[in-house]
């Protein structure tokens, strides 16, 4: 009741300043769509964590193998199956990186390894430095990720775009072809390649080239089809824009959000595909290391030498989770309508 009891006198009020244009003034600098999207992405902690993890893994996979003086296939049976030993952290008992295996035997002392030799992730059955092998394997996963994204961006966008933009008979023919390809499971494609070539990075690359872009082309086609008949495109066309200008200035920029989102979800799919194939022995062949193959080898001796499976499995999981989190974040940032 205190409000109404207070006396309202005219000197409490002041006439508003009526300056034309003042009310129209924008108080904050205007943000473009991409600045706004990036601001939304930065607010998403999970997506940023994912982004940092991906950058960290990329940088490490490139520089880490050179930390060790051993190559990816340098074998030495004298130092086989050593548990991990990390300088600095070896004093911390519970981390288990002090060169003592799970039976409590210090393998480094038992095998008379010189004190300056420390294998950060241990060594495998053949005495190869697991640290180098794990990061080299990560390089392969990242190569697959890069390849999948490139194929998506080049083949998928071009195919979907051309199909939708020219429409009519071109669209019909191109879509019949996609329908057939879409029906062939990509597992089947890779097996066909393994039979005529040999299992390895080449077969996986070719299988991805053939099947990897179909999802993207369908999404780009749907987007361009709906954009093609919008007023702003029509207006630009009426003003005499060439097809090239229509595509580069109007159609592609408006599809870019969907393209980015789709490719961030294609990438973990491709990484999983390679790791899965290597795990069942159809992918990367020894002596080349790949995360899937390393995990497969590590599982065979999980009880005695858990370090062989744990590190590659952890890096693979972190990589997959990071790409998924980043994809979710990008979708929320670029397409706020989808946000929940």
């Amino acid at each position: 009741m205190s409000m109404s009891e207070r006396k309202l006198t005219p000197d409490l009020f002041r006439p508003a300043q009526l300056v034309t244009g003042k009310s129209e003034e924008i108080s904050k600098p205007s943000l473009s769509f991409w600045q706004d999207a990036f601001r939304r992405l930065k607010m998403n902690k999970a997506a940023m964590a994912g982004l940092f993890a991906i950058v960290f893994i990329i940088v490490f996979s490139l520089i880490a193998p050179s930390f060790s003086k051993y190559g990816v296939d340098d074998q030495e049976l004298m130092r086989a199956n050593l548990p991990p030993k990390i300088p600095g952290l070896e004093k911390v008992e519970f981390l288990g990186v002090n060169g003592v295996d799970i039976r409590g035997v210090n393998q480094y002392e038992m095998k008379n390894i010189p004190a300056d030799q420390k294998f950060w992730f241990g060594t495998d059955v053949l005495g190869r430095d697991q640290w180098v092998r794990v990061w080299k394997g990560t390089q392969i996963s990242l190569y697959i990720a890069f390849l999948a994204a490139t194929i998506d961006l080049i083949v998928g966008v071009a195919y979907g775009g051309i199909s939708a933009f020219y429409g009519g008979r071109v669209d019909d023919t191109m879509q019949r072809f996609v329908e057939i390809l879409y029906g062939i499971p990509n597992l089947v494609v890779i097996i066909l390649f393994i039979i005529i070539l040999d299992p390895g990075i080449l077969s996986i690359t070719l299988a991805l080239v053939i099947t990897g872009w179909i999802g993207m082309s369908r999404i780009v086609r749907a987007q361009i089809l709906s954009l093609k008949n919008r007023e702003f495109v029509l207006a630009s066309k009426t003003l005499g824009s060439t097809n090239g200008r229509l595509i580069t200035k109007h159609l592609l920029p408006n599809t870019l959000g969907a393209i980015i989102i789709t490719s961030t979800f294609t990438i973990p799919g491709a990484i999983f595909f390679e790791a899965f194939l290597s795990f069942i022995g159809l992918g990367i062949q020894p002596p080349t290391a790949s995360l899937g193959a390393l995990i497969s080898d590590g599982f065979r001796s999980l009880r005695i030498y858990p370090h062989l499976a744990i590190y590659p499995a952890a890096i693979l999981c972190v990589l997959m989770i990071s790409f998924n989190l980043l994809g979710d974040g990008l979708r929320d940032a670029l397409d706020p309508k989808m946000r929940r």
Binding site: I280, L302, M320, I321
Partner: protein, 309 residues
Amino acid sequence: MLRYITKRVFAMLLTLLIIATLTFFLMKLLPGSPFNNQDKLTETQRYALNEKYGLNDPVPVQYINYLGKLAQGDLGYTFQFDGRTVTSMIANGMGPSATVGFEALVFGTLVGLVLGIAAALKHNTFIDYGAMIVAVFGIAIPSFVFAGLVQYYFGVKLQWLPVAFWNGPEYHILPAFSLSVGVIATVARFMRTEMLEILGTDYILMARSKGISKNAVILKHCVRNSMIPIITILGPLSIGLITGSLVIENIFAIPGIGEQFVKSINLNDYPVIMGTTLFYSFLIIAIILVVDILYGIIDPRIRVAGGKS
């Protein structure tokens, strides 16, 4: 609708024919014949063997014969065992594979539905966040890593469940659970999105304002309507289960199709590889077809009259 189904069945047969043709000619491209490097055979014996398996005919004739046999379900003989047909190997492996796959699908869908519904009803609470963290991990963590972990933890360390093999109901738990993780995650995410959308619609508000109890609205209106689009992801989910079964069956040593398949690839047993590949293609294409048709029947709003997706 009928026109659409006919068109789709036709497209499916065409795709299968293309896959079969590709596999046949790729096999012909391979150097050598099955009886090439058996030195003990005389020229006559080799000729007789080739004659018996129809390998002396011209390639087009072999192709027609191959398609004819294929239509009757005859996929040829395996190299691994004497006189066993690929069809009988697939038939033997079918039981365990289908059982694990079905158990994983049912268990995964049920758990996924419950998680998704709970997350949507308790939107923006810790239940929601917890369910979505489970979903992100379930989608991101490869099934073989997960299978290896549960096998080690529950099988080796705690010794609650058998580590591997296929000798009774308790042997089903770990493989079916490992296989279902992807299903749980996908269904939970999908269900949550759908539920949130439907909870915001006018007809839910209408039903509530008519005085129908909250539980009845949720069960009869929200959940039922949210479940319709779940059918669309059953196709991709089943394909994921087939792919997943290759590793799960290997890790848990289940005598299914996937385990045989991987073994045949490592042994270069081409007839089994090709037969199983064709079988998988058929399965996947048929599942996608059935799911698409079901979707059109269940949800009349998206009757696919023209047949363009």
